[in-house]
């Protein structure tokens, strides 16, 4: 018996005590359970961070977002354009120091493909109050298939430090209840 400060002499590669073996076996077994859960949950779980991934230049993404805004614009909120894209379409959200554009008006229970990118530095997409988070990296178009399940107003908080105005960077998503028709949605809420 010696402490960890002393040099063991002779052969120290010896069988371990039963208790120690048992613990290593339990720990290894548990690690294997976790190991299996990871791919299993990826296949079985309903919510994965994997999306459609493309490289995109800041200019191209900004232009695509602007076209999207021009096409589906229905109003303005706090100086930010509000858009209402057709259900099931590709929707664009761009992070820039220090705002999220545009304000999205979506329909409950319909799947959209949300394209996220930044035109300057890294930003963080955090959906308040349901707490869903994605990294928004300049140069990459992160296409996520999203289905709003709840109606109401949601805010997008930037949670990656992006400079001195980081705390000003809040965007908005409005989800209209499934039964509401397109007719009542003209103008800002």
């Amino acid at each position: 018996m010696h402490t960890g400060l002393e040099s063991p002499t002779g052969v120290w590669w010896k069988p371990a005590h039963r208790a120690e073996k048992l613990w290593v076996a339990i720990a290894f077994g548990w690690c294997m359970v976790l190991f299996a859960m990871m791919p299993l949950w990826h296949w079985k779980g309903g919510q994965n961070p994997t999306g459609i991934r493309h490289r995109v230049t800041a200019e191209a993404f900004a232009q695509r977002t602007q076209e999207f805004i021009d096409t589906y614009r229905v109003g303005e909120d706090a100086g930010i354009p509000v858009v209402e894209p057709p259900p099931g379409s590709d929707i664009y959200l761009v992070g820039a120091m220090w705002s999220w554009r545009p304000v999205l008006r979506l329909r409950q229970g319909v799947q959209y493909t949300l394209h996220l990118s930044s035109v300057d530095v890294n930003h963080g997409f955090n959906l308040y109050p349901i707490n869903v988070n994605f990294q928004v990296v300049p140069g990459y178009d992160y296409g996520l298939r999203v289905t709003p399940t709840e109606a109401g107003e949601f805010q997008i908080v930037c949670n990656e430090f992006c400079g001195i105005g980081h705390h000003l960077m809040v965007g908005k998503v409005i989800v209209l209840p499934a039964e509401q028709t397109a007719a009542v949605t003209g103008g800002a809420p």
Partner: protein, 506 residues
């Protein structure tokens, strides 16, 4: 300085004068960094506590950068350099290989630190610890990090060279002690880490001079090879210190060299891939890459910590039983030296690292939980439990042995020193848990104003968040008092303390 040796009266180890001086120099700079990081910690925390909201936005982010760099890089790595000299030269009764290079490495690291501190305090590097490109800092910031890393890499090389010298000069019998073996794995991980550091900071330095392009996602990928692996240096060094403190405080024995050493090897093999869990919600990588790196690779590194989490306390129990505390199941624990700050720091370090830091960290490594945890306060809640409650606390504990054994000074303010680990561990535990809870409400990390007073749209967190943040701040203040006592005790002991005579520590 000569090549003299002295005999340590307490441990019987031969201590090389150069090792002595290098350990002292590195420990002193580490403590200065801890002081700077600690003061900025309190200011940052009093800003996040919205009831006080102390700093303006620019100084909040500036001091958050200062806090991260000083704590996670300067304090911890200077301390680890001291650990490397101790685990090689002192534990093996050897001389330090190439002392002149060792001192130049120290100068390089101090120079790098100086450059980084200058750029941060003058507002030239408000980019936070991660300095994600294309957020831009002054080129001197990146240059400072590079100089520091080169110095650290030299110290690691000298550590390996000292192992060779000791073996060749037959300064010890048999194999190296477990503590040295653990330190060697920390050193190997340091090489991996610093390699990633070079691979990212050199291009970033050139980018800051407009000489090349750095992709934002590639930066995050390679940077986390540095950022996460550096925390694994801390883990390996901390576990080595656990074995060291166990031996020093209660004569803890090594249950089985094979098991403990194999566990250290697992860290080396699997930890750098585990960096991938920082990128689980990033656009640049696919599912297969994410799942492979964060499950297979990470869980085998976790296995290593699970093994140490058993062998360290079991070794302590056996050590105590060999000392005669054999009554019942828990006499060994009841009669343990709870008044020895080295012992209490060790126990709390194991508990906080394992139960709070470890469990939260492993859960973040899954895709779905990462979606609800990424960049929220859950993340700093986790790593304050691992790096502060775990590593920093273990390092504090071992300082109460470094001062008498290396500085040969009695520990000043002994009654304060005895309660220091209790305050620090208790405060840090409350701080980390409260911070994690706040994160579960989606509260972002690295954010100046979560009341969003000037934002275009209203965000109002659940009222519970105010309470939890208040509890976090109180825990943090208690921990800060503990940290302050640590600095007071160590600085006073080293510079104004009474010289040691005959082994009496206090």
């Amino acid at each position: 300085m000569s090549d003299r040796f002295r005999l340590c009266p307490t441990t019987g180890l031969k201590v090389h004068a150069q090792a002595d001086a290098l350990i002292k120099a590195n420990a002193v700079v580490a403590t200065v960094a801890l002081l700077i990081g600690g003061i900025s910690a309190v200011l940052v925390m009093l800003t996040r506590w919205q009831a006080i909201h102390l700093l303006p936005a620019d100084w909040f982010y500036r001091l958050l950068t200062v806090h991260g760099m000083n704590m996670l890089i300067f304090f911890i790595l200077f301390f680890e350099m001291a650990v490397l000299y101790f685990a090689s030269a002192v534990l093996l009764n050897s001389r330090v290989a190439a002392p002149k290079i060792a001192w130049s490495a120290f100068v390089l690291m101090v120079a790098g630190t100086g450059l980084v501190e200058w750029t941060m305090f003058t507002g030239r590097a408000d980019v936070l610890f991660t300095s994600y490109v294309p957020l831009r800092a002054h080129p001197a910031f990146y240059l400072g990090v590079i100089l520091f890393a080169v110095g650290a890499l030299l110290v690691v090389t000298i550590f390996f060279a000292t192992l060779v010298v000791a073996k060749r000069e037959k300064t010890y019998q048999g194999s190296v002690p477990l503590v040295t073996f653990g330190a060697a794995t920390a050193a190997i991980i340091a090489v991996i880490t610093l390699g990633h550091g070079a691979a990212i900071y050199i291009p970033t330095f050139l980018w800051s001079l407009d000489l090349m392009h750095v992709d934002a996602q590639v930066y995050r990928l390679v940077w986390w090879g540095l950022g996460h692996s550096s925390q694994q240096i801390n883990v390996a060094a901390m576990v080595s210190v656990w074995y060291l403190l166990g031996g020093l405080t209660v004569g803890a024995v090594v249950l089985n060299e094979k098991i403990s050493r194999s566990a250290f090897v697992l860290y080396v093999l699997f930890i750098s891939m585990a960096s991938a869990h920082h990128l689980l919600v990033d656009p640049g990588m696919g599912a297969a890459w994410k799942v492979w790196n964060t499950s297979y690779a990470m869980y085998l590194a976790v296995l290593a910590s699970m093994v140490h989490g058993f062998t360290v306390p079991a070794g302590m129990e056996l050590g105590q039983r060999l000392r005669g505390y054999t009554k019942g199941l828990f006499e060994w624990l009841r009669k343990a030296p709870w008044g020895d700050p080295g012992f209490s720091a060790l126990v709390f370090s194991v508990i906080i690292f394992g139960f709070v830091g470890g469990i939260t960290g492993v859960t973040f490594g899954t895709e779905q939980i990462n979606i609800i945890a990424h960049n929220t306060l859950r993340i700093p809640g986790h790593f304050h439990a691992t790096v502060v409650g775990g590593t920093a606390l273990a390092f504090m504990g071992v300082t109460y042995y470094v001062i008498p054994l290396i500085f040969r000074k009695r520990i000043a303010f002994w009654p304060l020193a005895r309660i220091q680990p209790y305050l620090f561990a208790g405060g840090m535990l409350v701080f980390s848990v409260a911070m994690t809870f706040a994160g579960t409400f989606g509260v972002p990390r690295r954010h100046w104003d979560i009341s969003f007073q000037q934002a275009p749209f209203e965000v109002q967190y659940a009222p519970a968040v105010d309470l939890v943040i208040g509890v976090m701040a109180l825990g943090g203040l208690v921990a800060a008092v503990g940290g302050g006592i640590y600095i007071l005790v160590t600085v006073w002991s080293v510079f104004f303390g009474q010289p040691m005579e005959k082994g009496a520590r206090a």
